[in-house]
Each structure stands twice: as C-alpha cells, then as structure tokens.
C-alpha cells in the first residue's frame, strides 16, 4: 500500500471524481433496495407473517391470482389434517374489498378469514383478539392512516359493519392493501361463500418435519405451494420484484464498468511509471496487489459514504407515502455486491499491469 496511498493523495481530485460516481451509485442502490423491500412488504407482509408452511388451493389453481380464484371445502381441510408431518391445517379466506370508515374515508382491505382460536388467529399488540362476529384485527398501518380501535368500518355495497377490536404490532399488507383479520364465518358472509368453504387450506408443519405436499395434494385434491411460492399470488408481486431486480442488476453492471473504465485509463496513464517500477525490481504481484488495494480502498470509502447518504435520504423518503423499508441485510448485501463487482471491474483493468514491459523504462518516453 506504500504506492497506493501516496497515489491516492497525489491524484486525489481524479480519485475523488471516481469515488463520487461510485458513491452516487451506492446511494441509488440503497434507495432501490429500500424501495424493493418496501414493495415486498406492501405485497406480501400479510402472508409472510402468517405462521404457515404452505397453502393448498383448489386443484389446478395457478399461482397467478390463486387467492382470488381458489375455493376449497371442509373435506379438503380434513384430508390435509391427516397428512404426516402436518401439525395443523385450517381453512383460510382471502378477499379484497372496498370499505369506508365511520368518517367516510375510503379504505381498501384484504380480509383474512380465520377461525378464532386457531393458529392463524393473530395476537394483537393493542386491543383484543378476534371473538365477536363483527370484530376485526387490523394491520398497524391502518392505525397510522388514522383508524382507531373501536372505529366502525363498513364494507361497500354489502353494508356489513365491522368493528376494529385490535391491531397488529407490525405492517401486514397483501397486494398493497392493508389486512384485516376477521372470523371465518363473517368472511363467508361477505364473500358469499357456502358453509365450509374457504379460499385455501393453511398448513402448518410439525417442528422439524417437512410434509409431503404432493402426497397431500393427491389425498386432498388440491394444488399446494410453499409460503414463499405463494408470494407470487400477490397482485403485481412478480412484476414489481423482477423489475426492481433488473434495475439493480443494471446498476451493478454499470458500477463494475465505471470502475473498470477508470482503472483502465489510470493504468494506461501509468504505463511508463509501471515500466520504471518493473525495471527497478517491483514484481508483477507487488504491483497487482498495490493496484487492487487502491481500488478496494476507493470502493469501500465510496460505498460507505454512499450507503450513509442513501440511508439518510431513505429515512426522509420512508416518512412519506412511498413503500420504502431499509433492511440492514439487504443494504449490506447491496454494498457488498457493489464493492465485489467494482473490484472485479478494477481487476480486469489492473491485470494490464502484468503485461507492462520493463524495457519501456529505457529510452526517451518521458
């Protein structure tokens, strides 16, 4: 690092320019990461926080829109309860409805119909659990939006009145709509479902066991998918996540190209100096190590600065209506990838050092 540090100090304006570009990319990566996590939370946090191993839908149901199309009956639930490795199987209802608050404010709700007292029945952070026919436990985000415990919510057209009896501690949304848990019988009334009908069978595996989903499907006449696979049933989830992933991939590639291009120009600019160093006895390994250490220093400093700035901007964005959630593992992964790919870009440029001929140090090149 003898040379690397001194060159960084000597050509600081050039390195600062490159570091600024990487830092800006890091800011963008943090914002995209936050947006991605926010959209995922908005799309599937309601499902993710259910203590469910898998869902079994009506036979032949495709992932796309499974919760809106599938109908199962009590016989299928019973069939799943008898499967090896299954601790519990419960009917689960899921319907998106339009409603309005007592003050007349429109509210979209994802109604999760669950049997009170079952493993799907949420434990609220405030208020009481499901019990009465018209009681609902809502996502904490609805409280943030102004709804209060004891408020009445009326389902549009049907006129069914529901009372907010509890709220969860965290965000629970499905397809960007706030979740409201309600008794399964009330859900059937709203959904116009027959007695015993539900949207899917919610399956909970025994600790350490992995139920044979194919065998269960054969026995119950269902099509099951794991909880993670069921995320794709959330409206727009796959399109949103794949779009953001594509943008992130492009950013990583751009970052590697920018760093690679800078170090290519820098290495070419230093060719004669490198030839002198080779002539006076610097080994290729020494020069390669020095060059990579220089790139690593810049990338770590630039990414660190960019991530801090991104977290600051993200904190401002998160207070608004934008679905944004900064999650430490996601941010650290993004920063790690940025540094790794940047280093890879730099490495492809720096290997040119190995080809520098010390003979070029002789003569009148400088």
């Amino acid at each position: 690092m003898f040379l690397a540090l001194r060159e960084l100090r000597f050509a600081r304006s050039r390195f600062a320019l490159m570091a600024a570009v990487v830092a800006l990319i890091a800011v963008l990566m943090v914002l995209l990461s936050g947006l991605s996590s926010g959209l995922v939370n908005d799309g599937v946090s309601g499902l993710r926080r259910l203590p469910v191993t898998a869902f079994a839908f009506a036979d032949g149901t495709r992932a796309d829109g499974a919760f809106s199309r599938s109908v199962i009956d009590s016989g299928q639930v019973e069939a799943w309860r008898g499967q090896p490795g299954v601790e519990a199987a419960e009917p689960f209802g899921n319907t998106l409805v339009n409603a309005h608050s007592g003050a007349g404010a429109p509210i979209d709700l994802a109604l999760f119909g669950v049997r009170p007292g079952s493993f799907l029945d949420p434990v609220p952070a405030g208020g009481t659990r499901l019990g009465g026919e018209d009681g609902i436990v809502v996502s904490s985000t609805l409280l943030d939006a102004g709804l209060r415990l004891g408020d009445t919510v009326t389902v549009d057209r049907l006129g069914v009145e529901l009372t907010v009896v509890g709220a969860t501690a965290d965000q629970r949304t499905f397809g960007h709509v706030d979740v409201a848990y309600l008794p399964l019988d009330t859900w059937r009334r709203i959904h116009n479902a027959a007695d015993g009908e539900a949207t899917a069978v919610a399956i909970k595996a025994r600790a350490g066991a992995a139920p044979d989903l194919a065998a269960g499907d054969a026995a119950a006449g269902t099509t099951s998918m794991t909880l993670a696979d069921a995320f794709a049933t959330s409206p727009g989830y796959t399109a949103e996540t794949s779009t953001l992933t594509l943008i992130q991939v492009f950013l990583y590639a751009i970052s590697a190209l920018v760093v690679g291009a800078f170090f290519t120009v820098w290495t070419i600019h230093r060719t004669h100096e490198l030839a002198v160093l080779r002539a006076i006895g610097a080994s290729r390994a020494y020069l390669l190590r020095d060059g990579l250490a220089q790139a690593l220093l810049i990338l770590v400093a630039a990414c660190g600065t960019g991530v801090l700035a991104g977290v600051g901007v993200g904190a401002l964005v998160a207070d608004g209506d934008v679905p944004f959630a900064l999650e430490t593992p996601a941010v650290l992964t993004a920063a790690g990838l940025l540094i790794t790919l940047g280093l890879l870009g730099a490495a492809t440029a720096i290997v040119r050092i190995a080809a520098v001929n010390p003979l070029a140090a002789l003569g009148a090149q400088r």
Binding site: R6, R9, S283, G363
Partner: protein, 228 residues
C-alpha cells in the same frame, strides 16, 4: 537459486547477441558484444542512435535475455535465471538511472528512496534514505515531488535511488539528456564519485561527449558492435 553476493566481480558480458523483430525483418541489436566493467569503474558507451546502446543496458540489467552469450553480475548468470528470479536479482543488486530521472510522480524525493526498501521488503536502515539524499546534495528538498524539482535535481534523486540498497551494478541511460552543460557535468561527476565511493560497476550510455572526461573508460558502439 542461491546467489553469490559475497564477492564483487562486476559486469561480464561475453559474446552477447540480441536479435529484435522489426516488422517482418529481424535486426541484430547486439552482435557478439563482450564487455567487462570492474567494481568502482565508470564506463561510458557512446555511439549514434540505433547503434544498440539501450539494448546493451537492457541485457546488462536483465530486462531482456540475449539470444546468445552470457551476462554475469558478480558471477551470477542473469540469462540463466527464471524471470521472477531475475526481477528479484535486479531489485537487490542492480540500480538504474534513467533519462530525466524517471521518478514516480506521486512520491516525494525521500519516498522515491524509501520505495526501494519497501520493494526489498526489509527493514529500512535507519536514516539510510536521508543519508543518500544528503550524499547527492538533496537533503533540503527531501519532501518535494518530481515536478517541484529541476532536471538536475531529479537526476540527483534518481542516482540516490539507484544506489539505495548498495547495488553491484549501476546502469545509467542518457542521464544528461535533458540537462544543460553545467548540470550535465555535475550529474556525471556525482555518478563518477558515487561509483568509486560505493565500489559499484557503472555503465553509462550517453550522446554527450562533453562529459566523457569524468569516465574511466569509453567504448563506442556502432551497428550493434562494440569497439574501443
């Protein structure tokens, strides 16, 4: 490879031939060149451009390997060494003085010398770099970078750098090319003085016949052949 560094015998080029590609043709840059330079001796190599002077330095310094002949420094045959071993030998036993100094732009004068210790990966002798700079009259400008030095000062730093670590062989490539007459004399006088003081075998390639009086011996190179 075990290197014999206990005794200094200087540079011995014997029957060295070097052929270089020139488009579709091959040019004989060095044609059975033999040269011996004893420790403490300064030998000047003169001759027209393209005569093979730089090729002679390249072979003597182990920057390239001759097609025929041998090149030994203190009895160690550089041509027989593997490239990595030759680089290591160059680092430890051969000093280069280039045109215009060829100093590293990012390094101060003192760091140009400390770099050599760093390349050697050994603990620096306390104040060796400072002493070397003082020896060439540059103690007062130790913290200046190359662009803050005159041409003559850059060459003085270049000579000090080349002498760091106590080399057996010093190779100077047109060290006065960018200097005026007075500075040229100063630099070659310094080179001659340090050659004798350090007991190093020195080969200086030059076009500048004015400075030859400082040299112990002058040989002429024409069309790859050595005479004189």
């Amino acid at each position: 490879m075990t290197l014999d560094t206990t005794t200094r015998t200087g540079l011995h080029l014997a029957g060295v031939t070097l052929r270089l590609g020139d488009g579709d043709d091959t040019v004989t840059a060095l044609d059975e060149v033999s040269l011996t330079v004893a420790p403490g001796e300064l030998v000047a190599v003169v001759g027209p451009s393209g005569a093979g002077k730089s090729s002679l330095l390249a072979v003597a310094g182990g920057l390239t390997v001759p097609d025929e002949g041998s090149n030994t420094v203190d009895g160690n045959d550089l041509a027989a060494m593997k490239p990595a071993a030759r680089t290591a030998y160059r680092r430890q036993h051969i000093g280069f003085v280039f045109q215009s100094g060829n100093l590293i732009p990012a390094l101060t004068a003192i760091d140009q010398l400390r770099l050599i210790h760093h390349l050697h990966r050994r603990r620096a002798e306390p104040r060796e770099a400072e002493q070397r700079l003082a020896d060439v009259g540059m103690a007062g400008k130790a913290h200046r970078r190359p662009h803050q030095l005159s041409g003559g000062e850059r060459q003085r730093v270049g000579i000090a750098r080349a002498l760091m670590g106590g080399p057996s062989l010093l190779l100077a490539d047109e060290p006065t090319a960018a200097l005026d007459r007075a500075r040229s004399h100063e630099v070659v006088e310094l080179l001659a003085r340090e050659t004798r003081r350090a007991g190093v075998a020195t080969v200086m390639v030059t076009h500048d016949t004015d400075v030859l009086r400082h040299c112990d011996r002058v040989v002429e190179m024409v069309d790859g052949k050595l005479s004189g």
